[in-house]
Symmetry: C2
Subunit: 255 residues, 2 copies
DNA sequence: GCAAAAGTGTTGTCCGTACACCCATGC
DNA sequence: GCATGGGTGTACGGACAACACTTTTGC
């Protein structure tokens, strides 16, 4: 048989789903949209949509991200754009046969890291969107398996996808400069520290953190200005430097 | 419009492609099969095939791996099986519109790490298979963009997929115990060191390596036996321990 | 003055590196 | 004996944690 005989393989629908993370009020939050139709009508879900004909997977993810947030994301490989660009990278692909009860759908999940935006801009076919702390969205670890049905607030297998995205973000800021993607173009060392603290859910020593990030070549470049928007003594403003890998990495405290 | 109207999305073919790596004669090698048909007839390609109806992505990858190598792989999440199991994990998904000239194909690439097998067992629809050193398969970095057409020996975008898989393997053995997946069930510290040296392409200090791996709790458990199969003084035999994360990590020497 | 946040200095400790040195086998 | 690989001891240095301490603002 020819392996490309059109009758020899089943057709799939291919979608992209987005795990869009930000840090708000010292907590890691994810963008979720309310489903307006069956199945899981009224439940929260990750934003996403179908990949179009003649559209690459990354392009579909960027399009969905722009529709939902207005953010202009740049690819992980390209040099950081000067726009208010979020970080976007492919996360993983989910294609279990029963994950959508209606048809066979393979979803290529992407992970986006965004600065704290003023407000979610609902767009596309979602009738509402919000930033929700990830603790509210993820299933509790120690929940008994026979708990009541609404064990996860997210539709489909989006709880699992979100958990994978959060885990990726938590580990990746450890050895890369990705944490700056959570910050506005100019930020202080304290603001960057609060990003790490929010993503990891821990407290870091401000003095050692300051020495660490300012001492890593290429991580931060001073922009010249200062700010007192966090109160206290004026703090230097920085931009993200060109370095993408942190060596030695930022050490996450033991659990 | 309903986003699930069957006429509202284009149908895709979904395949799994495998990056199967092993260490042979101190070199990192990948399993490739020769294509028997157009396009890229006669060129080498990564093994792979269509995902079946009602088949999960990981199940399709395990099936393809078994067909090509006879290996019984276990999932990344499950505890290590006692069989001669290889490591298998999802790598990334490739779906550029033109990557297959005949149709729109989305390929979910997987990464498998296998011990040095006696010989490749060609199976399925490939008429020949071999282990090839990855340096021969990857495009040279400094090649001029206007070099002659056969710049990469691999079909489709498999050169890129292989490069991503090699990069994943190289970085992952740094902070996990995955290097043991390249070893037979019982192995010596020296054999494990040769795995690291082959994957990274560097030389490691045998004394410090020994102290490091035997001093990391849960990484190696002595099996009681010894061997002289590498010559010299008899070496203790070990099995892989239960630990999956290496903390502190194995440090890769600077490039 | 007082609180709050930004920075700097110092010290002990852990860990990686480099290298000297000894051990046990095959030939 | 000698080559080969296995395994231990030890000294040096870099980096991190845990502080004490000073600086500069708003109120």
């Amino acid at each position: 048989m020819s392996p490309y005989d059109p009758s020899a393989f089943p057709p799939f629908a291919v979608t992209v789903d987005l795990v869009v993370l930000t840090v708000r009020r010292h907590a890691l939050c994810a963008l979720v949209v309310r489903r307006g139709e069956q199945p899981f009508q009224g439940r929260w879900a990750l934003p996403g949509g179908f990949v179009r004909e003649d559209e690459d997977l990354g392009a579909a993810a960027r399009r969905e991200l722009a529709e939902e947030t207005g953010l202009c994301a740049h690819d992980a490989g390209t040099p950081p754009a000067e726009t208010s660009g979020a970080h976007l990278e492919q996360l993983a692909t989910y294609g279990a046969p029963g994950r959508d009860p209606r048809m066979r759908v393979v979803s290529v999940a992407h992970l986006a890291l965004a600065p704290d935006l003023p407000a979610p801009r609902p767009g596309g076919d979602a009738n509402s969107a919000r930033w929700a702390p990830v603790e509210e969205l993820l299933e509790p670890e120690g929940a008994p398996p026979h708990s009541d049905e609404q064990q996860t607030p997210l539709a489909f297998d989006h709880g699992r996808i979100l958990a994978d995205g959060v885990e990726r973000a938590r580990s990746k800021i450890e050895y890369s400069s990705l944490a700056t993607a959570f910050c506005p173009p100019e930020f202080t060392v304290g603001e960057l520290r609060r990003v790490y603290e929010g993503v990891w859910g821990v407290a870091l020593d401000p003095r050692n953190f300051h020495r660490k990030v300012t001492g890593t070549p290429g991580f931060l470049v001073p922009s010249g200005g200062t700010t007192t928007r966090q109160g206290g003594r004026p703090a230097q403003l920085f931009r993200a430097g060109g370095a993408t890998l942190l060596n030695p990495p930022m050490l996450r405290p033991e659990v």
